[in-house]
Every structure is written in C-alpha cells, then in structure tokens.
Amino acid sequence: MTPAWRPWLYFGPAALIAGGLAVALTATSDHEQHPGQTIALVLFVSSSFILAGLIGWTRRPWNRTGTLMVAVGFGVLIGVLGEANHPIPFTLGALFGSLFIAAFVHLLLAYPSGRLLSRRARILVGAGYTIAFLAPLAESMFAAREKCKPHACPDNLVLVSHDHAAHVVATTVWTAASVVLFAAVVMLLLGRWRETTPGLRRILRSVYLFGGLSIVLLAIGFVVTPFSGVGAIFVSVALIATFTTVPFIFLAGLLGTAIARGAGVGAIFSSVPERASPGEVQEGLRNALRDETAVVAYWYEEDEHYVDVEGNRLDLPEDTRRRVVTRLDYGDQPVAAIVHDAALLQEPELLEGVANAARIALERDKLLVEVRARAQRYRALLQAMPDLMFRISRDGRYISYNAPNERDLVNGEVVGRLLWDRLPTDLADRVLASGRAALGGDPSVIEYYLDFEDGSRRHYEGRFAASGDDEFLMIVREITERKQQQEELEASRQRIVAAGDAARRKLERNLHDGAQQRLVSLSLSLRLAQNQVAKSPVRAEELLEASREELMQALEELRELARGIHPAVLTDRGLEAALEALAGRAALPVEIDCIPDVELPPPVEAAAYYVVSEALANITKYAGASAVKVTIGQVDGYALVEVVDDGVGGADPGRGSGLSGLSDRVASLNGKLVIDSPPGAGTRIRAEIPLE
C-alpha cells in the first residue's frame, strides 16, 4: 500500500469502531428520546466528514484539509459519549462534545490549503478550541437541573452546583464568547473573500457559502436555544441541512480538479484550432485553466528572455500570494511559462494536465514566437536606420518600404508598384538584376542617380540583401555630397596634372628658347673666334668678348628658370627671406608683414610662397595697382596668407590658369583660397591652410 492510502488503514477501521460504539451507546441510552434519528444524523454527519476527509487526504496528501475533515468527523462521534449511561463517558461527552465545532472553524479558516496562513486565523482557531473546551466545562460545572429525558442524566462528574444564577452567568458568558468568535470568523471569511483573486474565489465560493452559513446558524442556535425551543429546533434543522452538505462541498472543492482535469486538457485541444496562433493557444489555456488573466510566456533563446505571444519581451514576475509562475521546461531547457492565478496551485492536477498538454503546442509556438520576436527586432532595426529601405519581390514589385526622408522618394506611391513604374527602365533592370544576384547569395552594391521634379539630381548607393526566398532588401543611401566631392577631387587632380604638364612644357620651351640658344650661339662664336685667332686676332678678341656676354646672359636666364622651378632661397633661408626676394624683384612696392620666426611645414611654406608669387605676377599684369601688402600669419592651427592690392579689382579665378592652379595647390593641403575682388576696389586673395 502506498503511503497515500495509509490514512485509510488507520482511520477507516477506527471510524468503523467509533461508529459502531456510537450506535451501541445511542441505542442503549436511557436518556435519549430519539435514538433512531440521532444515530442516523450522527452517522451521516460523521461518516460524511470522515469519508470525504479520507478521500481528500489520499488524493492531496500534502493538503491538510482532508485531515481536518476527518478530525471534524471524529469530533462529532466523540459527542456521542454524552449518550452513555455511565457517568464517566457521559461527562467526557459533555466536555468534549463541542470540539468538532472548533475543528470545523479550523477547517473553514484553513481552507483551501489546510494551513492557517494568517496570525488572525491562528488566534481565532486557538480561541475556538479554548471556548469549545471551556464553555461545556463551565456549563457542566454549573449545570441546570433536569436536563435529560426520559430518564435522569447520569451523574455529572464535574458538577460544582446547580445554582441557577451561576448557570446563567456561565452560559451567557460562553454563549457571548462563542457568538463573538463566530462573528469574527465570518468577518475574516468576508475579508478574505473581498481580497481574493477570481481564481481562488471560484474555489472558495460554495465552501464559504455553506461553511459560513453553518457558522451563522451555529451562532444563532447558541443565542436562541436557551430561550426558544421551537426556534432551536428550526435552527437545528437548518444547521443539519447545511452542515451535512459541507463535507461534500469541501471534497468537491478539493477534488474539483480531478473532475476538471480531463475536461481542461480536452478543452485545449477541442476549442483551439489545429493550427492555432500563439494568441489562440493562450486563449485556450485561459479557458482550460478557467483563469482569464493567465499569460503564456515563450522562452526566446537568442536573447535569453521570455516573450509574450506578440513577441514582446516579458520578464516573469516574482511569485506572490495572488499570482505565480509555472515554468514548462524540457530537461534543463526552458520552453515556456504560464503566469497565472495563485489559486491554481490548489488544483495541481488541472495545472499539470493543462501544462503537459500545452507543452507540445507551446514548444511548436515557441519557434513561431521566436521568429516574431526576431522579426520585431529587425523591424525596429530597419525603422531606426537612417537609410531608405525597400522590400522588393523577385519579380520586381515593391512589398514595403521605410523612408526616413520622403524627399528621397522619386514617387510617393511605392507598395504594389513595379520597379519600372517608378524608375527609369535601365535602372529598374539593374536593381532587379542586383536583387536577384543577392537572392542567389551574391550581395552587391550599385550607384546611380535620379533626376527629381524640382530639377535636382541626387546620387544614391543601393545595397542588396536577400530577405526571404522570393524577396530582397534594397537599402539606399544618398551619396550626392560624396559624389560631388569625388568629382571635385577628380577635376582638381586633373587640373594639377595638367598644370604640371603645362609647367614642364613651358620650362622646356624656356630652356630651349633661352639658355640653350645662347649656349648654341656661344659655341658658334667660340668656333668663329677659334678660326680667327690666327687670321685676325682683333676679330677673335671681339668674338670672345661677345661670347662672354652671351654666357653671362645664359647664366642669368638659367638662374631665373631655376627660381621658377623652386626658389632656392625658400629652401635655404625660409619663407620670409623668399618673400622679401619676391618683393625685391616685383615691379611695384610690396609691403611684407610676416610673423617673425614663423615655422611652417615645407609644403605649406611652398604653397604660401606660390600664392604670393602668383598673386604678385597677376597684380603686375592686370591690377594696375600702386602698392601691395602681403601678410603671413598663423591662427588656430591654420596658416593664413593674404595678398591685398589697391588695383582695379574684378579678378576672375576662372580666367587664367594661375588662380585656379593656386586654388588646387591650396586644396591639396585641405586648405581653401578665397578671392575677394569687387570691381574698382582692389583684390584680396586669402589662403587658409591647416597646419596638421
């Protein structure tokens, strides 16, 4: 026999023996007017409690409700000792005959767990047992005369006196105490009823109704009995009716789950569609558990937290007296959890049955919900992206889009349209080709431009990625600015290269036309002189003199050319000296204002030198200026070069290659050249070049 059945082993035979004794005592009692009725009533009430209690005890070994019901049943049987004709059992029956009422109060307050969970309940139950013992004791000590019929009662062994006044006092005090106790019990039950959760209320409803009614009737009975025989009978009948119903209601409440279990599990599968959504499964669970507030949480492995049926993160609450969490794990691996009314813990079989049945569906749904959670995360990610995003089907139809900036949409109508409806044909073809390549596992990037209705042309970069078997994502980012910068850079590079070529051509030409020609002439003059030395020494001397002059001019031209290639003074003596040299060769007065001992990186120095050199050349050629001021400074990590003249102004950077060449040279050092040249008001050329 399993431990669960052990109560039957002890209390079954005990109940049979006690019942037999009760029948014997009542049947042989000389002071019992209605032995038949009494036997029937006692046996019915006690066996109901004991039987129901033992069933409950067996089915819920951890729940003390069954034990308490058995105690109430035996308590009722103890009262039958009062039927005995012998003074000792008679007295014991009188003293302990009311204990079952205290046990009943205990049972009621401890329901449904069978344990007294609050201090108030424990105090009330303690008071109940005290009163149930002391009240009959006091009444027996000061018992009224002639209580028993048809024969006199057996001797009352604890009798002190038959004093009427003492009897009234004792009875009144203990009746009042009992009524106060019953009232307190009813108040406690009502308070609990108000506070309790809907789930628990369902379990408590009938037990509190009939149990509470019994208590009320007992209280009324206690008050009425001493004064009105008819009232007492009336109350007794009602009390018997309710009191005998109670054990079955307790049992039904305790075992409600056993009846509900099959129905609950079945309900999940019958009321929930075969291919139910997670939401429908949750609804099915709520119905099966009869808990409208139950929430299903799915374990989301990727992020290691639970999510609800919608895929939103759900942190499981701590267990409280009202709500608890039942976790459904597979081995060590969490699958899902149900957050539900704490009352369901009283129906463990229902909970377990439903949970087991649901586990399969939940495990299946877990995948779905995980996908949903992931989809939600990706959606959030996509929405947070600053880029334009299109979902496009394999056949080129827009499925959805996300446009942080509507101005990037060449056409506001997107979803449902074909690529060719919105884009130029060749671009639409390229997009589809790239999208299909991405679907084939070959993600690609394209660059393109669009002409908008406002006349602007904007450049874009489109990236492609597969987003399903038959759809791809096109993520678009505007690159107009980058494109323009690229184009400017390209143009600047080409100009620098062209300027370099032009400078070399010019240099070669200058060499050829200048120094080289002079040297050739020198060579010829020397040959002539050589021929004339013997014939005409005077002529030879003239020729040699001419040769020397030719050589001096050739040297001067070479020096000038070398300066044009790179000013040696800049390398040897620094920027200030080089500028002074420039000023010295200039055709008009040049004032130089240079920070003393300014140390600039060589490329910056060279750029500054050429800015001044080119500016001075331009001023000499075009400006008609009377004076020039050159300023070299250094501010906030920038070298500043400024050349100001008082000429005619109107300088156009696009005119000659000189200024644009300077602009390129400065730009190559990440600097900028600003030319301010209003007609008639001189020209200011200002270069700002970063030192880092």
Binding site: L519, V520, L524, S525, R527
Partner: protein, 116 residues
C-alpha cells in the same frame, strides 16, 4: 655653294651666317618659319637649306618634305639645339641629307653630310 638658313632665332641665324661664310659658303637668304622657308627656296633656289627642326608654324620635317617635292629640290641639312637622338627615325624618313647639332655646326660637318 648657296645656303638658305631657316631658324626662328635671329641670334642663331646671325652666328650661322658668319660661321658658314667664314668657311666659304654663300648665304643667299634667311627665313624664320616653315612657310617662308619654302617660299624662299622656290625664289632663291639655294643648293642647301640649313633647316631648324623646331619652327613656330610647321616643324622642320614637314618643311623638308615640301622642299623635296620642289622642281629643283635643294639639299636639306636639319639642325637643332636638341640632340639627334631626341628625334629618332624622323630625320631619315623626311628626305634630309642629315642632321647637325647646332653646337657642332661647321662648314666641314655640312660638307661631310653632303658627300655621304
């Protein structure tokens, strides 16, 4: 032997005239560009044209080809302040007798080319 000197640099023309004349050549004319050179050759019928390669209008090779097509084509000797190697095969295919670097110019050098 009559010579036409074609060069855009007056200083060279002057030096070349002095040098060649001192060696017995008769300089009959000077031209400073290609077009003038062809015109002068037609008018003056020189025996020899000393022709600079780099001219302001058309280069010396083209001038040499045009001179070769004249009724009584003169002998053409190309000259330049650059080196012969700078011009590769152009000198041989243009119909000129040869090339003399300007710095090496002399009557003897020209005579050597004409004999060859």
């Amino acid at each position: 032997m009559t010579v036409l000197i074609v060069d855009d640099h007056p200083s060279f023309r002057a030096s070349a005239r002095t040098l060649l004349e001192s060696e017995g050549y008769q300089v009959v004319g000077e031209a400073e560009n290609g077009a003038d050179a062809v015109k002068a050759a037609q008018e003056l019928h020189p025996d020899l044209v000393l022709l600079d390669v780099q001219l302001p209008d058309i280069d010396g090779f083209k001038v040499a080809e045009q001179l070769r097509r004249l009724v009584d084509p003169p002998a053409v000797v190309l000259t330049s302040s650059r080196d012969r190697a700078d011009y590769g095969p152009c000198i041989n295919v243009c119909g000129a007798c040869g090339f003399v670097p300007k710095a090496d110019l002399s009557g003897a050098a020209i005579a050597a080319l004409l004999v060859a």
